[in-house]
Amino acid sequence: MHALTAGVGLKADHFEEALACPAPGLWFEVHAENYLVAGGPRLAWLEAIRAAHPLSLHGVSLSLAGVEPPDAPTLAGLAALVRRVEPALVSEHLAWSRRGPHYLPDLLPFPRSGEALVTVCAHVTRVQDAIGRPIALENPSHYLAIEGHAWGEIDFLAEIARRTGCGLLLDISNVHVSARNTGFSAEDYVDAFPAEPVVEIHLAGHRADPILGERLLIDSHDAPVAAPVWALFERFVARAGARPTLIERDAELPPFAQLLAERDRAHKRLAPVVAAL
């Protein structure tokens, strides 16, 4: 079996180089929504990548914390895509993005109440039943102080994993950004995060708000991974061991070789741990 070490978020501009890249342990992640299409070259392209490399499907729009459950046509489409490309990983966010007929393209926050816990668990179960396998749930980035939390984020995620059998996706950049924005210790968060359910790690670049500067960090995915995020990654891996780790990049796309060099840094940290298993 091909052991996943570090992967790269896949963009159309990098298709040829990604397809041919022989790096050991390499895998690719795509946003599932970009492939929930009826047919055509996009799916053919994804299948070609999948024939050469392990693939991860990362959802951004299922709105698992939304009041309404994920709709049946979307779940049927996702299930068909999962059957088609047999991904190594499937993931989504602890967030909401749908309201009535509308999709608000962002990962929106909510008070972590008992009601929210029951809601998210029901929706995670619905997705897992539809696609016939567990998903991993990601901690989002936070920009607001919200009142009415009955649960801390770590306990909330751990309880969802316990109740639904889902895995967790630890986005270390989101921890760094959220810690700065809402005032907690990123180190304490990473140390307290339950290691066992974690099936994937995300690392991405962020940016200081153009007006507020370093007081407000934005999870922009448009820059290299920053030094404090690498330090948190090292801290988690030293305690928890290796996990498939993704370099996310969605904007200001550099040449593929540059992304691969960032990915190689994570790979070099993970490969000896994976090899020792």
């Binding site: 929504e33 009826a38 047919g39 070259p41 996009r42 809601t119 920009y143």
Partner: protein
């Protein structure tokens, strides 16, 4: 101690605050935090970027400042309904046609219709392409009663007065943009006979013929309605039918 709101209340108020609508005092307090702008910007940016990706020729023609202003107005009035933004922007051409500041560019909505056609063809379901040999195997009398079913990945656009196809294809093909334009109507066919979307100019009567086919009318009726206007009807359909078939405009025959 304020009463804890339900998840539904919170999300209703949060969404209203995002869209700049009247909302609760609690949501107004949230919206007053500096970080709230990140959500507001991300939602709008997601819509605008999707429109720019799906209407690249329009975006090039008008420049980013004008495009972002128009796309922002469209997005506020027509929020996405699908979690996949791959096909977001249905109705953008009609929106542009009605937009007052667009009146300086008469062909803008026509170009938007071609951008939209490209996206729809690109994302359409896979299906077999009707082979010319299947058509050739029919007797002339059989052909008259047969329906030519348009392919799921075929779109045609007719502009009776403006050279929208020339403007559009010059951008798509990275051709010279400053050659003089001939101000006459144009029509175009976009199809996906292989892995890529392809396009070609059409006779306006050929688009009428395709409209008739899409309505389920048999060949004889469709050809008569589309080409009857001129005395060269037979020559017209004889010229255009092989071109339409070769481009992959049809998927199958229905008796």
């Amino acid at each position: 101690m304020p009463t804890p709101s339900t998840l539904d209340d919170f999300q209703r108020d949060f969404a209203a605050a995002l869209l700049g609508e009247a909302t609760s005092a609690a949501a107004q307090a949230l919206a007053a935090q500096p970080g709230f702008a990140v959500y507001r910007n991300t939602v709008l940016r997601g819509c605008i970027d999707a429109l720019a990706a799906n209407y690249p020729t329009v975006a090039t023609l008008v420049g980013s400042e004008w495009f972002e202003a128009a796309a922002g107005r469209f997005a506020r009035a027509h929020l996405p309904r699908d979690g996949s933004l791959a096909a977001y922007g249905e109705g953008f051409a009609e929106f542009l046609a009605a937009l007052e500041p667009a009146t300086g560019l008469a062909y803008l909505d026509g170009v938007a219709r071609l951008d939209r056609a490209w996206t729809e063809v690109h994302l359409a379901a896979d299906a077999p392409v009707l082979a010319a040999s299947s058509l050739a195997a029919l007797l002339p009398m059989e052909l008259l009663d047969t329906v030519l079913v348009p392919h799921s990945a075929a779109r045609w656009v007719n502009s009776p007065e403006l050279p929208i196809f020339t403007v559009w294809r010059r951008h798509r093909e990275h051709a010279r943009l400053d050659d003089p334009l001939e101000w006459r109507g144009e029509a175009a066919l976009l199809t996906r006979p292989g892995a890529a979307v392809v396009w070609r100019a059409l006779d306006a009567r050929a688009t009428s013929f395709l409209d008739e086919c899409a309505q389920g009318r048999p060949f004889g009726v469709a050809a008569e309605r589309a080409f009857a206007a001129g005395s060269d009807a037979e020559a017209g359909i004889a010229r255009w039918l092989p071109a339409l078939v070769a481009a992959g405009a049809f998927t199958r025959l229905e008796p």
